[in-house]
């Protein structure tokens, strides 16, 4: 929990800083937008966390977001290129595809003992290609579905502030939090991530549990994809590119270890918040100053810094974590006694006489 709390402090400090530099940060418009972004990435990241806790990895979720969005638009959009079927049909079909692909990936990884990195990399590329085939290089307008992402459950002065997507996210958080932390299934995930062999020797149905994590990951990617298609209202072949990396980064920031066995839903929420506040909040950051002539000016960080900052934050987080870990381990090992070493001497530098070892044969 140490890592999660540290990240929570970082997130709060970051938000305070942004608020201080620019009051619009807490404006209804920004809060609404950022919380929509956090909800969608959060759903995706929690899905990835299930896999990461077992020590696996799922690189296909970004392409899955794109594919489910494209399928939904293709089936249900009334605009050109869409088939104009009812929305529920599109959603069911998209979700069905997502779950089926998750199952196939899970079975390939567990039954054939393939490496998750390779299997999900293959699916990442394949699914991207399928999306491209469906939109055929163009795009499908899907503005009719914007109501989901734009819906608000709370308005202040007539301005929406709490998106409906936040409720979706909350539901995912509650269900996942229950699954990961309060069920036998969740315990099995941590046991597998901690020591796969020992879990198997303790009778944990390792393969079945692992397979389920890939289904969950793909399913939540499907949910995120449906939300995303409503948010951008125009699906093309590049939707969801590199989302898997954002999701993994959010997990790692939130305290998941890619070696497995570590991570909490709470941490993933914090990690997601950090990712999105940095990504979307950076352009709100400004510093007021008066130039030589006494006129008020604003300094903005360059927008291109976004990924530099995110990358640096991830690295600093894992480095700090490891340093704390090493210091603790050191203390534990040394106990209280400090080592007392005599001054370093050395061996007289004179090799023994060249041995003549008899060759037997």
């Amino acid at each position: 929990m140490r890592r999660e709390l540290g990240m929570l402090v970082a997130l709060v400090v970051l938000c305070m800083g942004l608020w201080w530099s620019n009051a619009n940060f807490v404006g209804a418009n920004n809060v609404f937008n950022t919380s929509r972004q956090i909800s969608m990435l959060g759903i995706l990241a929690i899905g990835s966390a299930f896999v990461i806790v077992t020590g696996g990895i799922d690189l296909s979720v970004g392409s899955m977001v794109g594919l489910t969005g494209v399928i939904l638009a293709k089936i249900s959009s009334t605009a050109e290129g869409g088939l104009g079927h009812p929305l529920w049909m599109g959603i069911c079909f998209a979700m069905g595809i997502a779950l089926a692909i998750g199952l196939i990936q899970g079975l390939l990884i567990t039954q054939l003992n393939l490496q998750p990195f390779i299997v999900t990399l293959g699916f990442m590329l394949m699914l991207r290609g399928v999306s491209q085939t469906i939109v055929n290089g163009g795009n499908i307008s899907f503005s009719s579905f914007g109501s989901l992402a734009n819906a608000s459950i709370l308005s202040i002065h007539g301005e929406p502030i709490l998106p409906l997507l936040m409720l979706f996210f909350l539901a995912v958080v509650i269900i996942s939090g229950y699954l990961l932390h309060f069920t036998v299934f969740g315990r099995y995930l941590y046991a597998i991530g901690g020591n796969r062999d020992a879990a198997q020797y303790s009778g944990v149905p390792v393969k079945r549990v692992e397979t389920i994590t890939y289904v969950i990951s793909a399913g939540l990617a499907g949910v995120a994809g449906i939300c995303w298609s409503s948010y951008i209202s125009q699906m093309d072949q590049n939707v969801g590119v590199a989302f898997e990396l954002s999701a993994i980064a959010a997990c790692v920031l939130g305290g998941c270890s890619l070696r497995g066995g570590e991570g909490t839903v709470f941490g993933v929420i914090i990690g997601t918040g950090l990712m999105k506040v940095i990504e979307d909040g950076l352009d709100m950051f400004r510093i007021r100053y008066h130039d030589a002539r006494g006129i008020l000016q604003f300094w903005h960080p360059n927008d291109n810094w976004r990924y530099i900052v995110i990358g640096a934050v991830i690295l600093v987080a894992v480095i700090l974590d490891q340093v704390v870990h090493i210091v603790q381990q050191h203390r534990r090992t040394r106990g209280t006694a400090a080592p007392t070493h005599p001054p370093t001497g050395g061996f007289p530098v004179q090799p023994p006489s060249e041995p003549k070892v008899g060759a037997a044969s």
Binding site: F182, P355, A360
Partner: protein, 505 residues
């Protein structure tokens, strides 16, 4: 001083602590030029730790190391190597994907200029060929190491030490995977190295070898220095009594001879993976059935079949009269057959989890009233009960298993299974790497479990343990059971001759 050799190395007052254990307490050791020193002690006596300190892998918390008359700090492995100390590990540390020359010069490559300079393969191969000739290995230096036998690899390790111009070579169980011929060859080379003034520390459990090759024997017990014996003084009995510290009989709990309990588990013509023929045996209620055999005789493979971790190629098993053929560990566990595996860190425990979480892992899905919901209260209750029953030394059941000593870790593994009322408990090397006190405790637990009517199958490479604990001893060789001996007929010599194939079945 009983040591006629000029001193090459002296380690004085070495103390090393690990979380929860003192691995070495005030240990001293000397080694002379041209001397072969055998370092003896039970598993967990501290031999490896002491040698890792000498090899620079660990730093002592207290004590000094005097090398060639000068106090020295071996602050890392590279420094120890630079000062002429070569450590040959039991599991040989050779890179199978490289050739012989590549291994001999690994970490010490000859190259033009820096690490990024052109590798001087020709020069290395020539030098490697000279070194190979000196250790009597008649192979081109470009042979991939993956094609060598264990004995040939040992020679390559020695050549590697020679390449470093080592003054001191530490050999950790060098003969454990060698054939008799290869062992003879190794001894010849050791004699030649000794003649050139090199100091050799020889670690082995094989008493005959030690008596043959060593000039002096240093004995450790429970991380402490017990004493030295010269080659003239050393006898099998003396060394064992120094290693064990008390007569062997005091170790093993008295158990009434048990006969005629009903058969719990029986196997007929069970074919273990890799075997040509099947094995048949049975184990009764309240009985401890020991399995003796050399490493690789198929004991662990047989246990994995009994536990459902591997599949039999044929044959049948019955558990309490009903057909039993587990295809997964889960099947076996649901029938009450449990395994405490040989490599407990790899197969037995989830190290980053707590004692409670490890104890509950196999059974938590079946805790009453739970369903899917995790029963944390019941988990802590069960684990606390096992903590007390097994007398696990830990402040609470929330302690992570990784922080426990080997003996306490093994008790967690046992507690995990005892909480589930075993019918058959399979213990594969139950006391490997465990200190003496915990060992005796585990023996007492085994006796108590047998008295409760549990059938125990014990695999052990420790002959005293097999003889001290078993009601019957099954001796395996080449993946078959050669013979099942009753306790009365089982002697060390008898078992040894059966498992090495000297006595035909």
């Amino acid at each position: 001083m009983l040591n006629p050799h000029p001193t090459l190395l002296a380690m004085r007052g070495i103390t090393k602590r690990f979380p929860g254990v003192v691995a070495l307490q005030d240990v001293s050791l000397t080694l002379g030029r041209g001397e072969v020193l055998a370092l003896m002690g039970e598993n967990g006596a501290g031999k490896s730790t002491l040698m890792k300190i000498l090899g620079g892998a660990y730093q002592p918390d207290e004590g000094e190391i005097i090398l060639g008359g000068n106090p020295t700090v071996l602050f890392n492995i590279a420094e120890a190597k630079r000062l002429g100390i070569a450590l040959i590990h039991q599991e040989l540390m050779l890179a199978g994907n490289l050739d012989i020359a590549g291994n001999i010069f690994l970490g010490n490559e000859r190259a033009a200029g820096s690490s990024f300079g052109w590798l001087d393969r020709g020069g290395m191969n020539r030098r490697a060929a000279e070194l190979l000739a000196r250790v009597g290995l008649d192979l081109p230096p470009t042979t991939p190491v993956s094609r060598l036998t264990a004995g040939q690899m040992q020679m390559v390790e020695i050549a590697k030490a020679l390449a470093l111009q080592a003054h001191i070579i530490i050999m950790d169980e060098p003969t454990s995977s060698l054939t008799l011929g290869e062992t003879r060859q190794l001894f010849k080379i050791i004699a030649d190295l000794r003649a050139t003034g090199m100091g050799i520390v020889y670690i082995s459990h094989r008493m005959e070898e030690v008596l043959e090759v060593a000039d002096r024997v240093t004995v450790l017990r429970d991380g402490r220095y017990v004493g030295d014996l010269s080659a003239q003084e050393a006898t099998h009995e003396k060394i064992v009594s120094m290693m064990v510290g008390r007569p062997l009989s005091a170790w093993f709990p008295e158990r009434p001879a048990r006969a005629g309990g009903e058969v719990v588990l029986e196997a007929e013509n069970l074919v273990v993976p890799g075997a040509r023929a099947g094995v048949s045996f049975n184990v009764r209620r309240g009985e401890i059935l020991g399995f003796a055999g050399l490493v690789g005789s198929g004991r662990t493979e047989l246990m994995e079949v009994l536990f459902g971790a591997a599949s039999a190629r044929g044959g049948i098993m019955r558990l309490e009269g009903a057909p039993y053929l587990p295809s997964t560990t889960r099947d076996a566990i649901s029938r009450g057959v449990y395994l405490a595996p040989e490599d407990r860190k790899r197969h037995g425990l989830v190290l980053p989890m707590s004692i409670a979480q490890n104890v509950s892992l196999p059974d938590i899905g079946n805790y009453p009233g739970g369903g899917a919901w995790l029963q944390r209260g019941a988990e802590v209750r069960v684990a606390t009960q096992e903590l007390e029953r097994m007398r696990i030394k830990a402040p609470s059941v929330f302690r992570k298993v990784v922080n426990l000593s080997g003996g306490n870790q093994q008790k967690v593994v046992l507690g995990k299974w005892l909480a589930m009322r075993p019918k058959v408990l399979i213990l594969d090397e139950p006391t490997r790497g465990i200190d003496v006190g915990a060992k005796a405790e585990i023996y007492r637990h085994m006796a108590a479990l047998a008295a409760q009517g549990i059938a125990i199958i014990m695999v052990s490479s420790d002959m005293e343990e097999v003889l001290g604990m078993s009601d019957r001893v099954a001796v395996m060789r080449e993946r078959r059971i050669e013979r099942v001996l009753d306790r009365a007929d089982a002697t060390q010599e008898r078992i040894a001759s059966i498992m090495t194939g000297a006595e035909a079945a």
